[in-house]
Symmetry: C2
Subunit: 473 residues, 2 copies
Amino acid sequence: MKNVEEVTAEVLLKIRPSLVESEKLMQLANELLEAVKKISSNYEGIIDARLEGSVAKGTWIRGREEVDIFVQFSKDVDKARLEKTILEVGNTVIKKFGGKTEVRYAEHPYVEGILNGVRVNIVACYKVEPGMWLSAVDRTPYHTEYIKSKLTGTLVDDVRLMKSFMLGCGVYGAELRVGGFSGYLAEILTINYGSFSNTIKAASNWRPPVYIDIEGHYADKREALEAFGRPSILVIDPVDKKRNVAAAVTDTKLSEFILASKLFFDSPTEKFFYIPGCVNKRITMTEVRRILRGRCILGLRLKVQQKPPDVLWGEIKHTLKGICRALEHEDFKVFRYDAWYEGNICIMLFELQELNLPTCYIHIGPPTHLDNALEFVKKHSDAQDTVAGPWVSGSRLYVLKSRDKTSVKDIIRMRLARGDISVSAGLMEAVKGAKIYKSGEELAKFASKNTSFRQFLFEFLEARPPFLAKHVQ
Amino acid sequence: MKNVEEVTAEVLLKIRPSLVESEKLMQLANELLEAVKKISSNYEGIIDARLEGSVAKGTWIRGREEVDIFVQFSKDVDKARLEKTILEVGNTVIKKFGGKTEVRYAEHPYVEGILNGVRVNIVACYKVEPGMWLSAVDRTPYHTEYIKSKLTGTLVDDVRLMKSFMLGCGVYGAELRVGGFSGYLAEILTINYGSFSNTIKAASNWRPPVYIDIEGHYADKREALEAFGRPSILVIDPVDKKRNVAAAVTDTKLSEFILASKLFFDSPTEKFFYIPGCVNKRITMTEVRRILRGRCILGLRLKVQQKPPDVLWGEIKHTLKGICRALEHEDFKVFRYDAWYEGNICIMLFELQELNLPTCYIHIGPPTHLDNALEFVKKHSDAQDTVAGPWVSGSRLYVLKSRDKTSVKDIIRMRLARGDISVSAGLMEAVKGAKIYKSGEELAKFASKNTSFRQFLFEFLEARPPFLAKHVQ
């Protein structure tokens, strides 16, 4: 077995860009920046343009090159004009370099293009004093400055290892779909603990709530935790004491990171890391059919509209929870659920203990000393769906009833028709018109035609984080 | 619809013995008492003999005549000699009258015989001052005196109605099998509220804890309830302030009595009463088969030894509870259970939500921040019976496991073999050798051969107290 140093040394060889690669990327970035600056001078209200992100900080991972250019607007510019202007600037520059553009959405729209295989984002922010933030990305230039001032010596490589580890373990990314660790958070953690392996060592011993206040903005941990509503992880932003850098991290991802750290120290391998060019093996339909055997999976296939991913994922998560609650309310036992989408198709999966409920169920009545005991007896004594009882046990009345519907498909259809499932408004129509898959064969059929869904279905059924998955190499 | 007065008047006509019947019974009782006294004079240590029970109080119901003769021993007599003597006295007297005797067991053995269709019990007690009780029945003569002093006017008829109502509703009898109201308790209640209908009216409005202290032994209800361990019903014995006359009443029987009282006032009929000579219709096998359809019944048939009923019922109840807990621990949902016995055959029935468990179940692991998280991952990752996972949700680990055994029969057998069911020591061997019925057809087969079990099986499946049962006329 290799030790931590051996593994990280080998990983670094694969994720650290070569000098030639670095220079090439820096050249592209600087050319783009100059072009943006030049065009920006035509627009009143643009103060400056800057390189941000991993290129600016020199922390990118080979194979995941990305150039982020931030155009800084004066705070007098209204949001509509800012949005209009950034699309014009972005489109012009990327087209000039021969790339195709696409408009993406975060809080504001921004322009994305691919140039020589490198993703380029041209983003608008306001140039403001710290604390006077007008949009979520206004902090970014300050973040970049802070990180650059702290990343001395080999610390850039430690940051690369950190991101590669988080990527490999499936906990990297602050977007709603992941609910994991942002790049900035990975950098803060590495700076705080002094190295990659120190960070992992520390994380393997974390016991939530985790609290990091690198610049000592708060005097008291308890007070700080209270002020932020007792999150499981609180990392005070060095450039903004009111912000939790880890606000997006879900309990699940935090716990997965802790577990991955423990496992990595227990038996260090490259398996924990994202290695460029290393592709997981493709799942065959034989494997899908084998893992589906004996499982009780309910699937809902719905048509969704194009929306910013975080908006759509918000709706999907809300709807997953609503359907789960409705199923549980009907006495189904829901083991797990998750969703996949691509283009305008979204598939929600629920793993259940069973797809059909037992015919009979107990209905609990009032204590016999209450007035409505009589009502209960009268209502149920001669009811068509009363199987046995009413009887008395302890102080209460009970009756055994038979279910009208027992199949999960019928029950979901019924509750949807009644409007008795809490579904996100944006998905209401889609869910009502959803196709319901009840058999594994129906799911397998769709998986045979769509490899992305096939991968998702297999991973859902395997139900392991990547660092525990057997099919991950 | 009749009103309460009309119904009770009609019931009284049927349950009140005629003058001729009364005189005949009193004559038999007095002749027996004389005979007992005469023989007793041959034994040193016997002080007196007395008529007790409903004959002494004049409160018996037609068709349920029973003569209780209590032989009072000096407190110097030891228990062994008392038991030997009472058997001799009882046997001699009953044989002299031409009856067959049987030894029955309560706290002490006593002699029972049937003479001219009347049950005769010859029982030993100690003659002691109040409070100096040496055996449970020493209070009886004081109870008899107390009740006789209070039963004035038509109150004897009200007591008859009370007993008949409790009998008809299935809540009469302090024995463990029933856990209901004793005759003495029925009398106390009637005396306390002044009439049958006042008692039922009061009971229909009871809200436990029920507290009755007819002689005002305690100043404070709360204090008294505390002193007795907060029972749901506390009726202070007029002749012994330390005794709860209702100690044997279970919450279920109390609640049934309250419900029956409510229902009776809502729509009074004779159905609520025990009427001599009125027999419920016999259940046909067609009815048994119909009611069995779709139900999930587990049956255990065991051989039991002759024991005093309260001893055997204690063991049966303990064992029922133990098996229920074991089933629930294995994730079965137990709706109800009960047992029947006759001769040396006992059958325990459990109604379950299903007779076979789902193949998969969730096993919950530790939070990932604990040290044993690693152990959990290692143990389950490559285990044969792991279906999916381990995965992380919130702070914890989970894994989906498959069950080795899913049938209730196999699971019960396995746990019995492992000694993993809390069974009464007296029934341990019987339960281990029990025949397990899993299908309704097996139960129906036995029911077709045994009408007493057939009746019990039907009533178990109907699951209604007699006052709600459809087959009760």
